[in-house]
Amino acid sequence: MKFTEEHEWLRVEDDLVVVGITSHAAEQLGDVVFVELPDAGTTVSKDDEVVVIESVKAASDILAPVDGEIAEVNDALVDDPGKVNEDPEGDAWFFKLKIEDLSVLDELMDEAAYKKFVG
């Protein structure tokens, strides 16, 4: 699993990059009450705001961690946003990205680096 400074995790599954937020991020956000996902097929560039997530406290965005195309979104989160707090690094993935070159992930943090980043 790879991690970004925006507290996203990325995992490669069947040549797609699955993206979610880390347990640390979910805990900081507090109870998530609203999730708005992009449409599958959307082309995104790194740092585009692709997901809106609102907790009891505030609204925030999830940014595209790399360039790519949204291949699939996790519609279950729209009906049950609380999943993001229950299983942020498992069932509560947000979207899957189709990207051209998986090697761009090499530049991201591994788990040890992320742990150090979070402190």
Partner: protein, 375 residues
Amino acid sequence: MDELKRTPLHDLHLALGAKMVPFAGYEMPVQYKLGVMKEHLHTRAAAGLFDVSHMGQVILHGDDPQAVALALETLVPVSVAGLAEGRQRYGLFTNDQGGIEDDLMIANRGDHLFLVVNAACKEADVARLRAGLEPAGVRVEYIEDRALLALQGPGAEAALSALNPAVAEMRFMDVATVELMGAEAWVSRSGYTGEDGYEISVREGDAVALAEALLAQEAVEPIGLGARDSLRLEAGLCLYGHDIDTTTTPAAANLLWAIQKVRRADGARAGGFPGADIILPEIATGAPSVRVGLKPEGRAPMREGIDLYDTDTGGEAVGRITSGGFGPTVGGPVAMGYVPAERSVPGTRLYGEVRGKRLPVEVVTLPHVKQSYKR
């Protein structure tokens, strides 16, 4: 920046795992381990203990209690002289423009009046009271050595009765002095959640023992400012500085119920408070823009500052949300805000602009969640 102040329960908050945030000059718990959502639901289901020691406590003394009450009536459009001993009432400090300088609770405790004012306004309120009342011979005592706790929820009566059964006899807005854990407590049956419950003032040295005795009970959990906000929002209660401020009149704020007949035009003690020449005529004419409940039709929360429109595209903003978020008991977004009077009828559909998109929102009657006061 001044250093943040701490309440007498500061160490207890930390021991309970609170997340502390700056609020009105104090370091306050925004949530504990349960988190905002569960704390909210727990308060409505059982009982929640809130530290509200940051709020201002003031006593007004004088040789003649009736003269003290009449003096305070020069600052608030409320019948203070008509407030029976052992009773409390909601009030407003108004300004010459008819706006609201703060909202407060006024209790008649026999030989004195006891006021509770908002934390962010307390210095200004004390100055206002001194300037307005001392010339009339009233002594304004700013209480800085007492904590204030709120115990709220359907389990509050049983929890506080376990410490002193006398509190069960109190009804909504009663005030009494009772002994709790060997300490003299000034108790009112009131709160800011829409639930039954109590607010309890004790000397700061007695606060921790009282809080611990309440928290030791199964039904009672500590609750932070996050849930306090969502609870009061569902209950349709105003947050000063957001839903009411120096520019909103009582009529606009939909708070005319706080102005008793005796202070209105043709009342025995009509007017005589700041802004009466604006506030009283507006009772008959109505305000151009009024505070209403708003229920977003979708799932997206509509928060403070969101503009409201008549249509889903184009046009000028006609209103604005002043408080909004997710209501855990409602299970969806809830809000309140100001809309033109002609659009204030429940059922009116407006559109809130969220992230550039106009989403439907319906004007609804407040509260969003039925209040359950013990009247």
